[in-house]
Amino acid sequence: MHGPEGPSGSERTQPLPRGYRVGSWEVTEPIASGGWGTVYAGRPVGDGTGPTADREDVALKFLPTDGLAPRQARKVAETARREVEFGLRACHPRLIRLLGSLVLSDPGRPFLDGTIVLVMERAARSLRDLLGTDVDEAEGARLIVEICEGLAHLHRGGWVHGDLKPDNVLIMADGSAKLSDFGLVTELTDTRGTHGYGPPMGTFDYLPPERWKAPLGEHGVQVRPSVDIWALGIVIHEMFTSGASPFPGATPVSRAAAAQEYADGRAPLRMDNAVPPFWRALAADCLAPTHDARAAHTAESLLARIAARQDPEAEPADGAGQPPSGRKAPRPWAVLRGRARAALVALAVCGALAAGWAYAVRDGGSASPTGSRGPAATASAGATAGAAGRIRVFNTEPSCGDRGDRAPECSLGLAIDPLRPYTIDNVVPTRVWHGDVLAVDCQFPHGVPIVDEVGTWSAQWFRVRLPPGSARSTAWLPAVRTKDRPAIPQCPRPTPVR
């Protein structure tokens, strides 16, 4: 049930040798693994041009795509895209920083070739590990405040974490907590900013009861900030009970059933007496049985309640010199004030690191940069605006490369909208085959990233002309489907097609 799983989860992939080079880092040891891949510790290696002492150790999250059918590889890429997209936009001292992403190109190790690697800030351990030890009330309170701060920042920005659990709360070397794992982060996309839609995934013990009855719509299940608040209620209870859920049962399935019984009004909420009264009341509000009842409690309002309780005198505190996570702080409120100042500084630092990262990766011989910063470099915007070029379709599938019979299984699709997921409802009826030459108007470097069958990753798309008589005059070919990189202008950002 706990933290980093044993070696069984990584049997699917071979362990990486110590010292394996990734960009400008090398692998030191495995940290954790799951069905999605493995996280390794990494440390900076010198390239002879600069010092490494000022660069920090990192966590390297490997998402292998080898052996996956194109559709699954796309799913891995989609998860990575969510993390990268979120990581590039979000930056906060309570969120684990994404330092960059890259795709391994290592034909000598087929199991690694095409693997997507996310480079992240390195934590000491997870809250799951910490729950095994004794967490006293003061430390528990501090950690809950820090988790709330992370959630409040996410929710303010119109995001929902979607998978809050002790495994995804990381404890840094200085003892402070940061939220991590943004693969299920969902943007609140509706006009009033109350909900968005995410993949129908989650962790049994942390899913709110309404999720078990939630309908699956075209874009996934409805996700609202109250999802994170429910999970926070579970985490608060676990904090003071060595990781015990408030819901009885020996397995996650029976605990989920117990949560359902409670939400249906057939069983009361029975929390462990080890949870101090103030935190028990807070957790009970987070665990309100319906979304509507829970919506009254936001991460902000919970923070305000905690602050009010911790400092009834409301004495103006001087946070100067206070570390961002003063563990032994006599007055928690002072810590809160001090932290707000630290946040501003950290924000500036985040931006600098991200820029440095893009530079570092471009120099790292074995990797190609990805994400919104990278691919623009591969297609030089043409000086001769308006001049259309030609590109030849390339199919990486060897059995499709040299046959001229235009077999359906060798056909490739063209997207309607390069900004929407490349799925069956986003392709035009026109198919293309290896060797076809297409007229191209322009290129767009920041579409949905596409991984081809051999793991090449690119977010670049070409706007190509369709034959006369087609319902549309143009469609989009992913850059991974051609070897050509003609000097053509950059397309204007496509308007969403519905």
Partner: protein, 268 residues
């Protein structure tokens, strides 16, 4: 955990269901109980089985975790729970057995009657949990999983794969197969030789309603045919988008006759 569904089909005469012999559908959440039997003014039962050979309170069903338990209140009769998909798989619940766990997703509970006939009702347990692929071994409790579990050995899964087949094979312009096409496609399969069009429709309804809980597509064509097509399209679109059906599942289907790449026709 959304619970279970109990369905007592409509029957005329001795084995009537509701007060007027209507079909009865009960939805039970975790921890809920439904009693069944002949019933009386003093013995209330949720599921009335109108046969004089059946006790007034013959037994009860209790939802536990992702499955359910059957208690047999009869002192003399054994009840049989059949798995309609299990090629004769069944279990016998002896007299006075309390809370026997029932492991089937689909069950048919059969009670004997005096004339050598039987009375039966069905229980569906759509919450059964399956681990995600590549998650074999090791603890899974704190892992992030797909919240929709499908039994890849069930007939409904074969129907789902057959529905998705044209798009999985990237014949993307092709429409979702019709019910007769599914029946035809699955006929060579050992478990589907006697699959009827009606059964295929029920499997599709079960997938859409109980397993994937698909919300009705907005603005669909009016009329029954339009709605039904909308539901199929939605099932296929979501199953592929969220990876419930993948390329590897095509191997579950019987080989296609004559539809393969050119050259196979001369062999077949």
């Amino acid at each position: 955990m959304s619970g279970i569904v109990v369905y007592l089909p409509q029957k005329s005469g001795v084995a009537g269901g509701g007060p007027c012999g209507d079909a009865v559908t009960l939805r039970l959440g975790p921890g809920e109980v439904a009693r069944f039997g002949r019933g009386s003014a003093t013995t209330f039962v949720e599921l009335r089985l109108a046969d004089e050979a059946i006790s007034r309170l013959a037994g009860e069903i209790r939802v536990t975790d992702d499955h359910w338990q059957l208690s047999n209140h009869s002192a003399t009769q054994s009840y049989v729970v059949e798995n309609p998909e299990g090629a004769g798989e069944y279990l016998r619940v002896p007299p006075r057995r309390a809370g026997a766990p029932i492991p089937f997703e689909f069950s048919r509970v059969v009670l004997p009657t005096r004339h050598g006939t039987t009375v039966a009702f069905q229980v569906f347990a759509p919450d059964h949990v399956y681990m995600d692929p590549h998650e074999i071994g090791g603890p899974w409790g704190s892992r992030t999983v797909t919240a929709y579990s499908l039994d890849e050995s069930a007939t409904y899964f074969l129907v789902l794969v057959a529905l998705c087949e044209p798009r999985l094979r990237d014949e993307s312009a092709v429409a979702v197969p019709t019910t007769p096409q599914i029946v035809e496609r699955l006929r060579p399969h050992a478990a589907c030789g006697r699959l009827t069009a009606r059964a295929v429709s029920s499997h599709i309804d079960y997938l859409a309603g109980e397993k994937m809980r698909i919300s009705a597509p907005a603005g669909g064509e009016p009329g029954r045919e339009g709605r039904r097509n909308g539901k199929r399209e939605a099932i296929v679109g979501l199953a592929l988008r969220f990876g419930l059906v993948r390329e590897e599942h095509l191997a579950l289907l019987p080989p296609r006759a004559g539809a393969g790449p050119r050259g196979r026709e001369t062999v077949g």
